[in-house]
Symmetry: C2
Subunit: 350 residues, 2 copies
């Protein structure tokens, strides 16, 4: 066959999904807690006979539930198969000018993969030495769009809301995407800014704070004109995306605010303890507003050594072999027990 | 905002999804029968607590089940969120040469939407006056790929296997996609030709013959090199697509061959009766190998009139306002009762 038929790409590499019965899985930022009991009930109540019918073509029930939850009109909400699907669709729909899209040099590595996939040129902006984002770098620069993860990944650091608003205001001609995958664990959302700025898209996911990674639900909120552009691209790819179980369980999750808040509080409390104990062991831990910490061990111990030792014990954390962060580990906040087991292993290495 | 940021597209328009309690829905080629009792059991057994974890990154369990079912290695199978997702990914992965992709002028209208989305030039080949595909039209012509739906939609007509093989053999340098969404209802599959031709991709769906439209599962079978190209593009968009419920229910469906065969037999028997009765009323009905019939009413009655009258009675069929087929209706094969109710209304118009 002719080779020019085929796309050649370097895809995103997700965290490995090991399968040991005794493993402690702190490598893909999943919640250590199950989804809301209302989700479990929705699953038990689910009528599988209805699977013969297509799901709602615009993922209507989740859209309505989220619109009500956040206080927007449904025309401001777009729902996809995880926030990766939502973000990929935004890249395809909103970054077509030929001018480069700007994002931090160290951030969610899928941004660059989508840019390459859709032939979007990229301008990567270095972080400050302390791994924070300098908002000024994104203002007054010719570009075709901006993408900021807040809190940023894998650094875990949140930006000031005022800095984010400055970036949005400084780029009135282009779309500014704020990826709030981890915002429920800390930092200040700009969701309330959507009515103020017609160029703002806020992206969220059910995979982290709603304990629904296995259901594949993500969404974004923006003004209806932007949502319409995104939806048109989506409807040019696949008319029906989120399936019937995802829709029913997603709606149930949105309806249980109390459980949602309780699980967030638990994760945040464990995160603070984890950061404190790692620091006591000599680690440098970046200030986390997420459901993970980003930490580097005290010399001469290296991140690779800690990673290997933990993996031997079937404790999986994430180690990115990327220059600048290759001596850091991204550790998902587990249950208190999981964190204690992990810390006990780390102590043996010190 | 600058308008050049945004993609402007004419998306695919799916059949309307009306929601009347008393409706008879014969407009989107869903099965009138529920999925296998094994799927219902899998749903009841589903452990929603596991939703906190990402699903299998390569949709492993369905892949394995399908590989075993069809007698291929798992490296020959790719699974997506419905066959639309699979086909969209194939268009993006395999049709990048700049040469036009060929498909019939009257076929699944999403093919042209994907081509436009991915900037693929298109060469549409007219059908014969009897709505059949002339295989010779696809042989010995410079192109960048071929897509054939077999049976074709919305005509319902299947091609001879020998003709399809001729097209595959005549285009050794390019990918030939055979979209077998409806093959279980008639026609002869070319799945067994996959080991013979390295340029063949056979696409299937769980939405029609497996009564799982609401679960969103589609797949394709091809040689491992082609699957790898498709998978690389998919992994550049979204690492986790089919969710946990879809994977468990999909596997359960594949494991119940007896129920699958029994439901196919029922649909086929009803289809034959439906076609016969429509012909008795003076309709011209194309020879169907699918779970729908494509039929035109006796003059002076028009398809639009029949459509409107049925819709008034909350009986929904599909009417494409496309030149050449705008006096035809695509009628999904329902239960015997649904078909009788529909026929009774049609009789009143004759």
């Amino acid at each position: 066959m002719r080779e020019d038929n085929f796309r050649k790409l370097d895809p995103y590499v997700p965290g490995i999904q090991p399968a040991f019965a005794d493993m402690i899985k702190l490598n893909t930022n999943e919640s250590p807690y199950p989804p809301s009991p209302k989700v479990i009930e929705a699953s038990e109540r689910f009528n599988a006979a209805d699977l013969r019918l297509y799901p709602s073509v615009d993922v209507g029930p989740i859209r309505d539930a989220l619109a009500e939850y956040h206080g927007f009109d449904r025309s401001c909400v777009f729902v996809g198969v995880g926030s990766d699907d939502v973000l990929a669709t935004i890249f395809q729909a909103c970054f077509n000018s030929g001018r480069p899209v700007m994002f931090p040099e160290i951030t969610y590595s899928f941004y660059e993969v989508w840019a390459r996939l859709y032939n979007i040129s990229v301008k990567k902006i270095p972080l400050r030495p302390d791994f924070t984002i300098n908002a000024d770098d994104y203002c007054g620069v010719e570009n075709g769009g901006v993408v900021i993860a807040n809190p940023n990944a894998p650094t875990s650091i949140a930006m000031e809301k005022g800095d984010i608003e400055m970036i949005i205001r400084s780029n009135p001609e282009n779309v500014v995407v704020i990826d709030e995958a981890y915002i429920d664990f800390g930092g200040e959302s700009v969701l309330d800014c959507v009515p103020k700025y017609d160029n703002l898209i806020v992206v969220r996911t059910f995979s982290k704070s709603r304990s629904l990674a296995g259901a594949r639900i993500g969404y974004c909120v923006a003004n209806p004109e932007l949502i319409n552009v995104i939806e048109t691209v989506r409807n040019s790819i696949n008319s029906y995306t989120n399936n019937r179980p995802a829709i029913e369980m997603g709606v149930a999750s949105v309806k249980d605010e109390e459980y949602f808040r309780a699980m967030l509080a638990k994760v945040i409390a464990t995160r603070e303890r984890l950061a404190k104990e790692l620091r006591a062991l000599g680690f440098t831990v970046l200030p986390s507003s997420a459901n993970f910490v980003f930490a580097t061990p005290p010399a001469p111990l290296t991140a690779a050594e800690v990673y290997d030792r933990l993996a031997e014990k079937h404790i999986f954390v994430r180690h990115f072999k990327i220059p600048g962060i290759d001596n850091y580990l991204r550790i998902t906040v587990g249950t208190d027990d999981q964190v204690d087991t992990m810390l006990a292993e780390v102590k043996k290495l010190i």
